[in-house]
């Protein structure tokens, strides 16, 4: 399907002389377009079968503001359409969103079991990680509002709040305890090292990261580097989104990364890079010059599947 989009864009009207444009897919990909290879830890069908077995899920004492039916429906939507994961308008949940998207692609059954256990018991373990969300988180999950479709996604609210509560980086140093509204503040921020640490702890991937929060990666040609790695693994990019999606008319844009995206496809033609990536509940096609690509990227995380016994 993505190749159809690319072919469409190569057909003239949309490519002529344009310096930069983006194409967002606002609706989730149909299920048959999702990657489903033999290397995944579990399959979507296993996760759906697990969710089908849950009958009469009642209210949870641990999460007083989460409605069980909506929670279960939300889990099912995420398992069936991982691309629909939505970190919310104006929040700092984008890093957790990218992580969750990868989680759902690799191990939807693990995701469904972990979130169900968290909902039922208030705590849950996954691998060597034990999630023990704070009382403030439990009270807040299900009440986040004015965040777009995240308003009606209690499972995402619960999960993103748990991740932000559990994993800390230097950006969270001054705001370590959740207060209402902190999902938009430094409490929820994800620096590059923290993002890679979460990937290593939660997902069954080998993770190699190049780049840093304030220094661009020294990897030579960005296109070649990303393209090579996408042939053998999954690539997450840490980018400065403020120069892609302008929000004001200031001339000087601060040079630091703000956003995590999952690269889906990349190609180069006529000195124009076409990058298809996932972020914010949709897929985006972005065409940009190699120089602009170099300017926006601050981190390149390369994930390959763990071999049996690597755990």
């Amino acid at each position: 399907m993505i190749s159809d989009y690319l072919a469409f864009f190569k057909r003239g009207l949309l490519t002529g002389g344009m310096l930069l444009y983006t194409v967002s897919q606002t609706f989730a990909l149909p299920a048959n377009d999702l990657p489903e290879d033999s290397l995944v830890t579990s399959t979507r069908q296993q996760a759906i079968a697990f969710l089908d077995e849950i009958k009469g899920l009642g209210p949870s004492a641990a999460w007083p503001h989460i409605k069980p039916a909506l929670f279960l429906q939300n889990l099912r939507t995420n398992v069936e359409q991982p691309a629909s994961i939505y970190p919310g308008n104006g929040t700092n949940f984008c890093g957790y969103g990218a992580l969750t998207y990868l989680f759902l692609l690799d191990d939807p059954l693990g995701y469904a079991k972990l979130l169900t256990q968290l909902y039922r018991e208030g705590t849950a373990s996954f691998g060597k990680t034990l999630f023990t969300p704070s009382a403030a988180i439990k009270k807040a999950a299900g009440t986040l509002r004015f965040k777009g479709v995240l308003d009606i996604r209690p499972a995402e609210q619960l999960w993103f709040l748990c991740l932000a509560d559990h994993y800390k980086g230097y950006l969270n140093f001054l705001n370590r305890r959740y207060d209402p509204g902190d999902e938009d503040r430094f409490w929820a921020s994800v620096n590059y090292a923290k993002f890679n640490r979460m990937l290593r702890k939660l997902l069954r991937y080998k993770v190699k990261a190049r780049g840093a929060d304030l220094v661009r990666p020294r990897v030579g040609d960005r296109y070649d580097h990303i393209n090579e790695r996408m042939k053998t693994g999954t690539v997450v990019l840490y980018i400065n989104n403020r120069i892609i999606h302008k929000k004001n008319h200031v001339n000087i844009k601060l040079g630091f990364p703000t956003h995590f995206i999952v690269a889906e496809k990349i190609s180069l033609e006529n000195d124009l890079v076409t990058l298809v990536y996932w972020d914010y509940g949709s897929k985006t096609l972005l065409q940009l010059s190699p120089a602009f690509l170099k300017r926006v990227i601050y981190g390149i995380t390369y994930c390959t599947k763990n071999e049996p016994g690597d755990d």
């Binding site: 989009y5 009207l13 949309l14 002529g16 344009m18 310096l19 930069l20 444009y21 983006t22 194409v23 967002s24 897919q25 606002t26 609706f27 909506l70 308008n89 104006g90 509002r145 004015f146 777009g148 479709v149 308003d151 009606i152 938009d184 302008k246 929000k247 004001n248 008319h249 001339n251 949709s282």
Partner: protein
């Protein structure tokens, strides 16, 4: 001498901060440009019903637009100079009435309206939509001033407000509704405004 310099510097900083006050732009702006603003909102609603899209002026000179056309499966976002024929070609290709959209863009340009969009929000798990418009301040603002955009929210239903005119989440709660992280003030039952450093 050093103390005097520090005092002068402090005063300058305070003056710069005061210049950020929302008093620079108030609801008066709406009444001064009510007809044009309402015309933009109405024509945007009409055109949006035919084919969902959004428009933003991305450059300071108001000569470059970002046009997003939303189809069932994809949203196409273009950025190109206003004078180029590709604008009309693109509108025609996606079945938008080109003269109507171009007239809308001209109206937006005339009052420095930077962004028009349809936003969704939820009340009691029910989806609602509103028209969101940002206008770049026509008043002179100092270089360090933050509040540069006058943002209007057009609702389709009358809204609830607290005693000081702040937009509430719903009738039965005192919780303030935030849109893109901003609280909004009443202009009339269906239109609210805020001042922001961002146009979206």
């Amino acid at each position: 001498m050093i103390k005097t310099a520090i005092s002068i510097l402090s005063s300058c900083i305070i003056l710069c901060m005061l210049s950020c006050s929302s008093r620079n732009i108030t609801a008066k702006y709406y009444y001064e440009h009510e007809q044009t603003l309402n015309r933009i909102e109405e024509s945007y609603q009409d055109l949006y019903r035919q084919q969902p899209f959004t428009v933003a002026f991305t450059a300071k000179d108001f000569k470059t637009i970002s046009l997003e056309i939303i189809t069932d499966t994809l949203s196409y976002i273009y950025e190109f100079p206003l004078h180029e024929s590709r604008l009309t070609d693109t509108l025609v290709k996606y079945g938008l009435p080109a003269p109507g959209v171009i007239e809308l863009i001209r109206q937006m340009q005339s009052i420095r309206c930077t962004w028009t969009n349809m936003l969704t929000y939820y009340v009691d798990e029910k989806k609602n939509s509103m028209v969101f418009m940002s206008v770049k301040s026509v008043k002179r603002v100092l270089p360090l001033s933050y509040k540069k955009y006058y943002v209007l929210a057009y609702f389709s239903q009358p809204q609830s407000f607290d005693g000081s005119g702040k937009l509430l989440d719903k009738k039965t709660t005192r919780r303030l509704r935030k849109i893109n992280g901003q609280t909004f003030n009443r202009i009339n039952d269906k239109v609210c405004y805020t001042i922001s450093g961002h146009f979206r």
